[in-house]
């Protein structure tokens, strides 16, 4: 007997909130409870409702977990974002210098507003990506106690 597929919104939500290793452990627990306790007692339709309800009840705690991890990695994320911003700005400046050097009779002058705004926006996007990546990162659980199915 296999468990009914979990609702799509539950899977999407867990994917957003938890790294893969945690998500798999949590989904495994839910599926074990569903198969061994809930499905025989409630039947298919109510079992699916139970599953959605369980995820909904877990939402505040999982959101808290996600935020706590993000804040725990905030200094690393900020440093990564700053570095990415500086590297992007230097690269953009070098590229601009090169392009202008290829245009005859055109001196550099100050960069345009659009150029500066583009640099800042690019840095912010890179910083955000770094912060999200750092928030999802976590230490790995120890190695498995035994392989395969028990």
């Amino acid at each position: 007997m296999s468990a009914p597929p979990s609702p799509r919104w539950c899977r999407v939500l867990l994917r957003v909130l938890l790294p893969r290793a945690d998500r798999e452990a949590l989904l495994g627990d839910l599926e074990e409870e569903l198969l061994t306790a809930v499905l025989p007692r409630l039947g298919l339709r109510r079992a699916r409702r139970w599953y959605s309800g369980e995820i909904a009840r877990s939402l505040p705690a999982l959101l808290g977990l996600r935020l706590r991890r993000s804040f725990a990695h905030a200094p690393a994320a900020a440093a990564a974002g700053l570095l990415a911003f500086a590297a992007g700005a230097a690269l953009a400046q070098a590229l601009r210098g090169y392009v202008l050097s290829q245009v005859p009779m055109r001196d550099g002058g100050p960069p345009s507003l659009a150029f500066v705004v583009g640099q800042v926006a690019g840095g912010l996007v890179l910083g955000l990506v770094a912060a999200l990546a750092a928030g999802r990162a976590r230490r790995r659980p120890g190695p498995p106690a035994g392989g395969g199915f028990s």
Binding site: D29, E31, S58, P60, L65, P143, P144, S150
Partner: protein, 109 residues
């Protein structure tokens, strides 16, 4: 590491892990809490607490074996660390010290 003080639910979770020994993972911890206290807690709350306790250094986790009834997914098993045992013992001592000499059979009128 760092903050060794434990909240009430953290103590309950640590005691459940201690009782379950090698068989402590999210679902078994939740079942243990339900069977002993009657509290039906969300699995997400159990996981968030286990994760926080591991961050504090009170628990250690490892991946357990996968099984067919889990859809082939591995369990994340937890064990208490020496630091966790000390923190739990301290919390229990604090509670006993605060309760000593009080009449806890009080009932609302």
């Amino acid at each position: 590491m760092g903050d060794d003080r434990l909240g009430e639910f953290e103590q309950i979770v640590l005691l459940a892990v201690l009782r379950l020994g090698d068989g402590a993972y999210g679902l078994s911890v939740r079942r243990e809490i339900l069977s002993r206290t009657g509290r039906e807690v969300a699995i997400g709350a159990v996981y968030a607490t286990l994760d926080r306790l591991e961050d504090k250094g009170h628990l250690r986790s490892r991946l357990g074996a996968a099984s067919p009834e889990r859809g082939g997914r591995a369990k994340r098993c937890f064990t208490l660390t020496a630091q966790g045992q000390r923190a739990l013992a301290q919390a229990q001592r604090d509670l006993a010290a605060m309760a000593a000499g009080l009449d806890l059979k009080w009932r609302p009128a």
